[in-house]
Symmetry: D2
Subunit: 386 residues, 4 copies
């Protein structure tokens, strides 16, 4: 196949961007503010649409409730459509209410659990109003001290809460369950690993799927192995892409270990997981603490595209032959050949052919959009990640 | 309850010791030899029996095939019985054959897979001859380089191989499947985590259970959480106990993080997992590279007993009350009260009441057994871990 | 020696508590508020004094500037003295100013560096006014992306800035330099490890010393080794005690790995580092995100005391003999004997003999202080960690 | 500058290969044997020379004593010269003698320490006979259990032993001191980190320098930071290059995280550390457990060359400008532009121009050398890593 033919494998591949990436974010130590930061969900969607306009890769925007609560969700969806994008997954929030100090869906108090379940019914309602089909649930519940709570009783209460949420979904909805190794709790998270997420999804039904956030694993974890395993089990619902060196650093995807991102995309591509019919939702979940947010999002979607393009170049026949021959270095070299290939020119050509800027980063810088929003978005409260 | 009543919870609790702990072991850099090291399975069992005689805690010995191959397994079982112990789990070996360089149950070559399956039929046969009911399988298969092999095809081949092994079991047999984070391969292990082990066990049937080796996890992993989850799923078949600071260090259990061992046993005790009817097999898997091996095993079983004794002291009503009241420090303190209690005197009293030495370590030192075997086991080849 | 004689080694041992532990803290996801939280430095000192009154262990309070800025530092010092405590180390803050987004003492812009240096001159001034002799500097500077900055140029600028600060100290002052593995930056911290802190201290002079925060290391790091090495080099200035399972979790010291805390204190005690003349300042640096703050501080100082008490029980002659005999388990058992000893009764006796409550936790609960401050501290703004 | 001009920065850059890479290696579980494995140091050097002949990059071979002991070192050096290479660093061995079970240079027994020091005098003698100028010392000493030994006394004994070794060096010799996080001991290594290695080098003198093995760090450690710091302190003596995912995996350098290798080489290149006059010795230290050893070495030196070539492409002016402008993504993108550039063609051109094969891997495969040595090296004992 020619490179062009290979890159046609990118057709139909899309990435979903999160509304919260356009607001301010930070660490527990400091949230720096930035000129031009959106002040409401409409402005966030306008920024997200700019990413799509320049890259052609990001036609959907995830919302986060309550951060993106509006009076009229129909108007928000229409606003998105006018800007050339649409609403993606609806993310619930179980970490910002004082009631959730000791848990939400896992809390000992049935009233708190009911409140947390109820919040998801609101999200399902917003799904109906915005056309979203994915309800994404990251459970931030956990404990800080051994003995603080019964790990097992919390699982039982969680299972019960999830059953209620799952029951509220419409038949074309999915429940996407995310796991996280640690933070915001430091002794035990209630869904710390893919095994736990999978067990809950198995108990719920086929439309419960696992979300793999690339920053939510222990040091050294082989993430592409988990990708393979969840695909094999038919339970990989979505990615939350980002980069990490240490913990859940939430850096630009592909910035810390581009080879890992390539390996993940190669695992995906090897079974057609990048094709729209696979049902895998490729989402970003990042924090642009110190860098320009829109440029950060453009860089991120380009990095994912680049990794997938390289993955599509892998000569799988040669790989299989080398494996069967026990040619360890030969097989590894087949993979590395794809990784070391510079696909940036071919991707620029492809963009141009589709009426997009060859260099979206340069086009963004040249567009004056940053200056425009910095000047225009004076007053109001800057949206923040938290 | 009085302390004595509490410690009656130890009645019936047993630990299984591995035959290979009595042979020499080491790192890839060096295996140091030791006077008195057993030269055959009969001598290993004699040493293991000494651990049981002094502690009353270790009535079973795991065998490892082919390291413990003998002409007459009936004779070996009888030898064990004469020494007051019996044969425990049969451990297969998939890592020491040149054919397994690129995999055993996962190999691309069906002949290699057949050989690896066949090896387990031998193990099942040994189970029949020795009265063992647990077949323990640690899959050392893996790859060192990305691209070296198809992670997914290896899972499919593994599933097929495991199905054949499981089919060979008798109805009262269990298959215990162990997972390991890394080593002896360094890119991807084929069963790296409890989720993967669980998926294979689910596919096989109820008598396929997971083995949790306390040294086989990523840094920071909350092991008692996995214990809880596997118990909740009805799939915790056995432990391989040992200690680690870094990797799979295989140190004496309880020597590196006694509080972690206590938390694990507290999770076990909270649902009666320490009772014989739970079916959880508490095994050791350690390497005494530089220390006396028999003393190392005595120390290990005493450490597990001590941790369980402390776990039995936990005031679970107070824990639950504190949790329900949101009293974080109060709940934690309930757990710590049990941990900080010095149970050594009570355990010595209990030993004395059962006709055992108050201090098994001192009794072992005073017994002259070490000098006796050092003098008697001259000539032959010292058994080694590998 | 009798236990009482052994525990007389605790005489003169003190722990310094941080003013910020009494304010609210949290993660980047949420800071929960708490009834009774202090609203100014005077109330923080009142709370800290309560910890000392109940334990007799915590006669000093660290301040943090600007969080603890007041009009009249003399009045604050007098307030402390009235409450039975005094002012300890002055902590500077280099992470909360918008100017510091890309660095403070390391910034490319000399004006920003000058501002950051200037801030320390204010701290030195506060030292003069409060009687403090320790200036503690945690450098939060770092970068999130490879290429973002020249790692080396930042070291050079840091060295220059530190030289200016050191020059401003009075002869009886020390500069305590803290290192941290990661956070709030995720690619490279500018002082990530003890080696870097040491190099800067060596360049500055004898009164520049290293601060070891127990939560600021890579997974698996042997902290007592670093304690030993810094003591051997004459550069261990202070501890920031806390506990961690994963990252810089800032949990109650001794709650996650009490054996590690014991090993650290044993290393300290083996060279008399716990004696006042050693110059090591034993400080806490913790966040009580979800637990009662004053109770959390009491528990923390008691945990450190307990660990030191056990460390003092170690039979060092037996240790040395066992080492020289190559008796690995024997030597380890000497250490474990001390660790497994329950010293709580002896410590309660000692407290009673000194006119302190036998059980400071119970005494605090019984005192009504929590209810008193919850009722009395209405209105105003709760102090927060950030 | 044109790419050719940029790549002229590679002139004079060399990599040193280890004799032991050509022998068999493995894990503690298994050492697989391989056809054609050298049976003596002469055959190892012949294999190493083949790597240099095909790549032009590897003109020196490190020896390991006692593995490479020969009757006549002059003959060995002449043999090397005939094959177009020369002898590089002499590596001592402190881990394979039964006397070293509890330590070598740190042992409590002065006789054992004397023996370990004496071994280095032999190495110095071999240096004289082979023309080597670097004595490389990896201290494998450590302990497995807390309490097993006095960490501090071991440092003192180590310092004394190192002083004796250093005193035996000739004026043009260097002592290269390597550190390692863990293995073969699992509680504490006696030189676990760069800070400890540095302190010993400082005590010894200017010709004592630190060796950075890329596999010898805690998870998450920023290695290029340490490179920078050691260069800044004038103490970076050498690299031991390899790759890791988990522990000291000793995989082919550049195979696990090529971006990390690039960052390291970029840090090197930014201060001219790749130039011969810098004195940094770029060595490999790897284990080819399952792959072809000579091909593995060729791949390794090519990977280092490729990483350096990309590093030389970095536009440092643009980097500095972006940093000064606070343009985080812009600066990062400058670095990534170099990394994403495919330099393989330019490097092939450069090789061709120097009379070397364009594709050394293919040339090696086509050469028939593997078949030749497999056929010729029958009988004798295969050399092994240990």
């Amino acid at each position: 196949m020619s490179p062009q033919e290979v890159l046609s494998g990118l057709d139909g591949f899309t990435i979903e961007v999160p509304s919260w990436a356009y607001g301010n974010s930070g660490t527990r130590f400091k949230v720096f503010s930035t000129p031009g930061t959106p002040r409401d969900p409409f402005e966030k969607i306008a920024d997200a649409a700019r990413v799509h306009a320049l890259t052609g890769l990001a036609p959907r925007v995830s919302l986060h409730i309550p951060w993106d609560r509006v009076e009229d969700y129909g108007a928000l969806a229409a606003h998105a459509e006018e800007h050339g994008v649409r609403i993606g997954a609806i993310n619930s929030n179980l970490f910002q209410d004082d009631d959730y100090k000791f848990g939400s869906l896992t809390h000992t108090d049935p009233k708190v659990r009911a409140k947390a379940v109820e919040h998801h019914l609101e999200c399902v309602d917003i799904m109906a109003k915005t056309g979203s089909t994915d309800l994404k649930l990251w459970l931030p519940d956990g404990t800080n001290y051994a003995g603080q709570a019964s790990l097992r009783a919390r699982q039982d209460r969680l299972a019960d809460s999830l059953t209620q949420i799952y029951a509220a979904l419409e038949p074309h909805h999915r429940l996407l369950v995310e796991y996280k190794f640690f933070e915001p709790y430091f002794y035990a998270m209630d869904i710390p690993d893919w095994g736990t997420a999978l067990l809950h999804c198995q108990a719920l039904g086929d439309r419960a799927q696992v979300v793999l956030d690339t920053g939510h694993h222990a040091p050294g974890t082989n993430i592409e192995f988990i990708v393979m395993q969840l695909l094999r089990a038919g339970r990989l619902g979505a990615f939350d892409f980002n980069s990490r060196y240490y913990a859940d650093d939430d850096l630009i995807v592909g910035s810390a270990d581009p080879f890992q991102l390539f390996r993940i995309m190669a695992e995906i591509a090897s079974v057609g997981g990048h094709l729209p019919e696979s049902g895998v939702n490729f989402m970003l979940d990042q924090c642009h603490n110190i860098e320009d947010k829109i440029a950060g999002q453009i860089r991120s979607v380009l990095n994912v595209e680049q990794a997938l393009a390289k993955a599509l170049l892998v000569d799988t026949d040669a790989l299989t032959s080398a494996e069967e021959a026990g040619d360890v270095i030969g097989a590894h070299d087949v993979l590395m050949d794809a990784f070391h290939t510079d696909v940036r020119g071919a991707l620029a050509d492809r963009r141009e052919a589709r009426g997009l800027p060859r260099d979206p980063m340069a086009a963004y810088r040249a567009s004056g959009y940053a200056a425009e929003i910095a000047a225009g978005r004076i007053g109001g409260t800057q949206a923040a990640w938290t």
